[in-house]
Symmetry: C3
Subunit: 343 residues, 3 copies
């Protein structure tokens, strides 16, 4: 930990180090962590996955967007504390990864990475203003919204070409290539972790899990729980083998599990049960959004995580212990609550 | 009324009766009523309609979801007063009826009923937090949102099959089987009332109207006004005969008319005129949403009621009498207001 | 200016003139101006464009809806100051122009103009309540929402027929008739101004620019900047020649540029840069919405302007000069801000 202290001193003394620190924390904040070493390992994970799958532009796009988004926040004089915690870096980073993953590598794509990263920061400031009303964070929705706009907009321009997995088509009922439980599931679970950053690589998933572990064991544990639960639910419901094999049912569940189970509430038994119901909701929302977006040929990105987590965070104060006096005259509540005494 | 008093005493003394009372009021709250007898008659109506149309799973699904949703609210320590008024029962009940109506009767359907009911309660808590900001209720939107997610999600899973009326298709301009005014309209109006609970049965509609009558004559009157106005407007605009014959243009209008005309404002002449404009808006929003959802092959549910009622409730304070002194220097307003004197 | 004073005295003395004044200001408020002469010139522009393109019903629909919407606001006892500034006129006016542009001239179309104008005022009151929470205006979104409902609803009714440019179809990637920079661009830019009011006529655009000029040189300047930037960006990105030639990439950009550059912030260097990024976002949002709406066969209307301007207004306070003491301990911010001194 003395290394950590030395880094913190450097960051306080030199502006260049302060900026690098903010960017590294930005990479970590995708997973809701505030730790530069976690961010470094995540960037290594993205680099490994992006080179391994033959898409080097993804790590380049992610890094460019991380820097552009953070600089935009500085130019717009955003809150200094949030800036230093990396809260203006994580959504632009994902926009950079998303645009380079789903658009073909042409000059306009790189312009979209830069403009998109700057706009993502504006959207982060805008949505934070809106959601502050109810005490919930904007999560990765600035990335989702901006990247949807860029991908959907790309259809209208001859100088940009989509490389999304499926062309626009009307939704059809679930096919016959149903995924089955097998030994490969461990790899799909790790790919589920790496798909948070739009790369499909079990090694990247492993590196990212180590990154979580150096900051928070609970976060690492819930990441694994989320990836396993999301993948098993999808297999149990009869999802297609192709999507399960790419880890696509894991990444939203990973984020929901970390957010609801480890970061935004204190870990506990009831919290874990609530987080698991949230993971179920995430899988269903992801399936629903896949249907909704089929006619437009764009992916759900992390919108299922965002929607499910918002819905499960908004009533969150009901899960905290309630002072005894509030429940006096309240037979119904004590009766059905698990483990309640006889009155 | 002494029966009512005796019931209330039983509910205060015995937790089992208290729970049944909360569930019955939950059934009544779909129609914005807080009365266990109304709820009982509504459940009888759903049972009659569901058996009559050969879909017994609808009443079973509605009852299971009503219980699961209410128990979930208890476990989450939701507000006791709202719980006792049935405010955590009505949306889950509709989710249960919706899932069993629009998914085929397979094991996964029943899992979706239970999970959907629990999630509907979480969504009710979440949306109530959001809409409290503007002093309007979430209405049946928790049901709409959760059921849309479940139906749209079902496309992606081989173990669930949709039984929605129309498969995904691009919208087409209104056809030639235009409905015409005839003697059968009375039945379509009553079916409009029963369609609130996703059953098509004029007898059920009659039983439900009696249920309204035992609690509030104004609510029963506005339910009839809404069903008649919605059906006549649809015929007047040239809607298809098939949809009119199933009572599908009535149920959203029924709910808007009750909400705007009888429950959420004091009944009066201006209020009735405003509620009628709200019914017109409901019919147009329903037609629009039918077009929007055509490519996805899922029904509008009660979203048209919710959207129109929100839009007409948000500015509601402008309809209450305004203190005289506010209007002093205000020639324009007094000039054009109906019945305004010359000064 | 003595003419202006005389008119103001007449409006204060006679209710008829007060009403005409409120309607004229309503026409001007589409462009975010509060000036009856600007409104008069805009109405002249719409009339010229509507007659010139052989669609006289557009100016009639716009005028009818302007009057109906303003009268509805009076009947609902809306805020007198807002009424006098024309804030309840501009969205209905656009609804009238939109419905008569995109529905065929049949009796139901005129009923939709009247009902739509009244509902637009209700929606204006509703959305103003919602957006007041964050201190941003509803802009033209009441028009967009109501007109989308009417056009989408028209599909379901045999007595209404859509005349939108394209029938429902799945989106396809950008074609080969890419627009090129040429002498005609000046006309497309002026048509971009007139398309704010759904008419395609460079003469109308010129008259409307004069209308802006009599009230605010900054607004006129930013209108030109927005129309030029929107059109050039669309050509640069490779948009289709057909849409560029109709001025369709200008009108949303015009409104965003006026709102962000001239009206809702004080004009300055940083403000202009921010407004330009807002124009870029507007063009991309417009392309995205064009894709989203393709399966439904309805136009984007001014939704791209509304969405981009909301996103850029919500964090606006960050652009105002920040008191020095807030930034004390804040090396990162001063370091990267342009023109920042050495400490």
């Amino acid at each position: 930990m003395s290394d950590g202290n030395r880094w913190r001193q450097l960051a306080e003394r030199y502006r260049g180090v302060e900026f690098v620190d903010a960017c590294l924390r930005g990479a970590a904040q995708v997973m809701l962590q505030n730790n530069p070493l976690t961010g470094l390992l995540i960037l290594v994970g993205i680099a490994v996955g992006s080179l391994h799958s033959g898409h080097p532009q993804v790590i380049v796009g992610a890094l460019v967007a991380l820097v552009v988004g953070t600089v935009t926040a500085i130019l717009l004089r955003a809150d200094a504390g949030s800036l230093r915690s990396g809260l203006f870096g994580f959504s632009p980073l994902l926009t950079g990864a998303g645009v380079t993953t789903f658009l073909e590598d042409r000059p306009l794509m790189w312009l979209f990475v830069v403009l998109g990263a700057a706009v993502t920061t504006v959207v982060t400031l805008a949505l934070s203003t809106v959601f502050r009303t109810w005490g919930v964070p904007a999560l990765t929705f600035p990335f989702v919204l901006t990247t949807w706009f860029l991908l959907l907009g790309a259809y209208q321009f001859a100088r940009s070409t989509l490389a999304t997995p499926a062309p626009p088509a009307l939704p059809a009922a679930g096919g016959t290539d149903v995924a089955r439980l097998g030994g490969g599931v461990v790899f799909h679970v790790l790919e589920g972790v790496s798909q948070v950053f739009l790369v499909e690589s079990w090694i990247a998933g492993l590196v990212i899990l180590v990154g979580l572990l150096v900051n928070s064991r609970w976060s690492a544990a819930f990441a694994v729980i989320g990836a396993v639960a999301g993948t098993l639910l999808a297999i149990g419901f009869g999802a297609g083998a192709a999507t399960v094999n790419q880890g696509l049912w894991g990444f939203n569940a990973v984020l929901t599990a970390i957010a609801l189970g480890a970061v935004l509430s204190r870990p506990s038994g009831p919290t874990a049960a609530y987080a698991l119901l949230g993971v179920v909701a995430t899988v269903i929302v992801q399936a629903a959004l896949t249907t909704v977006l089929a006619p437009l040929g764009v992916p759900t990105l992390t919108a299922p995580f965002v929607i499910a987590t918002w819905l499960f965070l908004l009533p969150k104060r009901n899960l905290t212990p309630v002072p005894q006096h509030e429940r006096h005259a309240d037979g119904l509540l004590t009766a059905l609550r698990p483990g309640a005494g006889p009155g």
